[in-house]
Assembly symmetry: C2
Homo-oligomer: 224 residues x 2
């Protein structure tokens, strides 16, 4: 299921027009990958891809439907809002079969006047939900703790670790390597997919830090 | 409820004979604090305190019952195994009333042949359970992500952030400052007590990293 040569892997981004999707697209394209932004409305994905390319003409980014992005890529990153997560993946199960699927969705709930909280996912986490509805795919959870604002910023290097978990050790290592291709980042394989709930909720911790310290924070694992 | 001068605060450690308790006791005593190790069996606490002092005679550490440790200290750290957490705190509610209570308990479950997992706590986390049974105390959650082995090691400095959460902003800052008194550590206030579940489960992530990378890992927040 792993794409052979990591350097030439084409990457599809479901929900690619959001901040996280465009940010990852830009950074991965800057690392030399062909990227296909997907959206429910293909014209919005085309527009987002054009906008990213307008600033950096050498980037290989194009837009299409979510289904086409899933089909044409060898690795697919899921970056949709949690509200549409289960439905979209269920609909694309055939396109995603036999592929490596990287889920970076955070099931976070923002309500006025309350601190952000996590939406309870029956499977335990968004990534485990993805694994449940995509039995023919290899699901890895990653990129939850990477600030979309930093990804889209003008910073040339983003000093953060990308925490990775999943039940296929080789796929985890592959995703760690992919993360390491983004300047400043390091992938860290933390273990089985059941840890995804922690990786997803770590986002709330970083949001809390950002608020208190007026920062765009990230995480580093020390001692390794 | 905050002890006035942080430098002269006496620290009680409930469940002080475990690795986490002895490790924190040693590091906090090395930072100049008087520490009272508490245990259900006071003679075990006395023996643990004597052993810590045998290696570093200048440390001000003594042992006593959990109740006496709670009573004689101005700040109390809870480091018992989760199995006895609710019961102990319920029994000591009077001794802990009006005090700052720092909960560093991780409700982790280790079963043979399975990856470690979290025990579901009705209140959401061990620290929220503490807050529920200690309505007269100020509960702050901290030190979950600090390796007991590192605390007990011969390393003079431990490069890690201590993630702190709680519903009393001043108490959070106080605990951040206390953490910063341990060499190499920095306290980071991440927000409300409801984030404690994430801080507690982060331990599983670090256990996973330790296993995969043969390391004693910690966490740093970048960007602040």
């Amino acid at each position: 299921v792993l794409p052979g040569d990591i350097a030439t892997a084409t990457i599809g981004l479901l929900g690619g027009t959001g901040d996280q999707g465009r940010g990852l697209a830009r950074r991965l394209a800057a690392a030399g990958h062909s990227v296909v932004l997907g959206s429910r409305e293909p014209e919005r994905a085309v527009a987002a891809a054009n906008e990213l390319r307008a600033r950096r003409t050498h980037l290989d980014i194009r837009g299409d439907s979510n289904a086409a992005a899933a089909q044409s890529a060898s690795v697919v990153i899921v970056a949709v809002p949690y509200a549409g997560h289960r439905e979209l993946l269920t609909a694309l199960a055939a396109e995603l079969a036999g592929k490596l699927v990287i889920d970076c969705v955070n099931p976070t709930l923002f309500e006025r006047g309350k601190p952000p909280s996590m939406i309870a996912v029956p499977e335990g986490s968004a990534a485990e939900e993805a694994a449940a509805v995509l039995p023919e795919s290899t699901v890895v959870s990653a990129f939850h703790d990477v600030s979309a604002k930093l990804l889209l910023s003008s910073k040339r290097s983003i000093a953060t670790d990308v925490l990775v978990c999943g039940d296929d050790a080789e796929a985890n290592e592959w995703v760690c390597e992919l993360a390491g291709r983004i300047r400043g980042m390091r992938g860290v394989n933390v273990g089985p997919l059941q840890l995804s709930n922690t990786l997803e909720s770590l986002t709330l911790v970083l949001i809390g830090v950002n608020k208190r310290y007026k920062a765009r924070s990230g995480v580093r694992i020390t001692g390794i």
